[in-house]
């Protein structure tokens, strides 16, 4: 293994285990140590320093790392739960308190772990592109649902309305969950502002579930359901967008 590969692997492991700030210090130290090693000692790199992951493990404060792992799994569970309810056999016509619970728990954890550190660095370009792509996807989903709710697609068979809504919402939720998990990992290992993707993904997953729940429990005689439910979705969406903005700052 050459020095660059070693440093890359060490850097990734250190950032995951130690978090961004402390990892930056130890990676800088390792970069200096590796730079000073004579090139003829490259063959004994692993023998002298140990595997990069093991080297990062030696620097880990177990208590702090366990705390991070717990938070990561809870945040991931908060993302997966709405997705499982939406795509699994657990969908009911009534919103459950747990859906609000996972939303607020996930957003709170993301804000606690990845709140602003006052850094003035540029936002990662890839993050902005992914956020833009997700926004386009959400607008498309909203447009499809609006057409379904208003009956604007006259040629679309009415018996397909439910299936179309389910397909569109499931797709949006699955993409959002994948983006959310990816964002959490990048927030830990790269730049904390990637957590914006987590909050946006969680918001999308929960609102998708809420919309599908409303459609399943829809009563044909209730003509004001959209206004009533719409307020609820707007509040959740507003909180999610504010959280996304806070993490991005």
């Amino acid at each position: 293994m050459d020095k660059q590969t070693y440093l890359k692997r060490f850097s990734r492991a250190a950032r995951w285990r130690l978090g961004h700030g402390e990892a930056a210090e130890v990676v800088a130290d390792y970069a200096e140590l590796l730079e000073q090693r004579p090139p003829e000692q490259d063959d004994t790199l692993i023998q002298d320093l140990g595997k990069p992951e093991a080297a990062a493990r030696l620097l880990t404060e177990e208590k702090a790392y366990r705390r991070w792992l717990w938070s990561f799994w809870v945040m991931t569970a908060c993302l997966l739960l709405p997705e499982l309810i939406l795509t699994g056999p657990y969908l009911s016509g009534q919103p459950r308190p747990i859906e609000y619970g996972v939303f607020f728990l996930g957003v709170t954890l993301a804000l606690v772990w990845f709140h602003s550190g006052g850094e003035k660095t540029k936002r990662p370009r890839a993050l902005l592109w992914i956020l833009a792509a997700m926004t386009v996807m959400l607008v498309a989903v909203a447009a499809v649902l609006a057409c379904l709710f208003t009956g604007a697609w006259e040629t679309w068979p009415p018996e397909w309305y439910g299936l179309t809504a389910f397909f569109v919402l499931s797709l949006a939720s699955t993409v959002a969950v994948a983006a959310g998990i990816f964002g959490t990992i990048r927030a830990r290992t790269d730049d904390r502002r990637w957590a914006a993707l987590y909050i946006l993904g969680l918001t999308t997953a929960v609102i998708s579930l809420q919309i599908m729940t409303a459609l399943v429990g829809l009563c044909t005689t209730d003509t004001h359901w959209l206004q009533r439910e719409g307020i609820r979705w707007a509040v959740l969406g507003g909180i999610g967008l504010v959280g996304t903005g806070v993490v991005l700052c």
Binding site: V26, A28, D29, Y30, E32, L33, Q36, R37, Q47, D48, L49, G50, A54, A55, L58, L59
Partner: protein, 100 residues
């Protein structure tokens, strides 16, 4: 006294003589403890730094590149004295048992 304490003693001992930069410290300790990987020594050095026994500063030798040097602090000297005392007790104990 554990091996970890012995290595800590050696790290502090090196720094009581003069300030050193990371690579030199790790190489010297690795020579004395060939069975211990440099990453483990670095972890101990960082632990001493976090405990306030040593501190880092950026320095350079004439014409050389800037490097992170380590120096011992007052807390480090106290820890050094404590570890040295433990080592002497251990050595005397071993000598009393006929181990030399």
């Amino acid at each position: 006294m554990l091996k970890k304490d012995l290595i800590e003693l050696c790290l502090l001992q090196l720094l009581t003589v003069e300030d050193q930069y990371g690579y030199v410290i790790l190489s010297q300790i690795h020579q004395s403890f060939p069975g211990t990987q440099e990453s483990a020594v670095y972890a101990l050095l960082r632990g001493l730094c976090k405990a306030g026994c040593t501190e880092q500063y950026e320095g350079r030798e004439s014409e050389g590149p800037a490097r992170k040097y380590y120096r011992i602090t007052a807390a480090g000297r106290a820890r050094h004295g404590q570890l040295l005392e433990e080592w002497r007790r251990l050595r005397d104990g071993l000598t009393a048992l006929g181990i030399e």
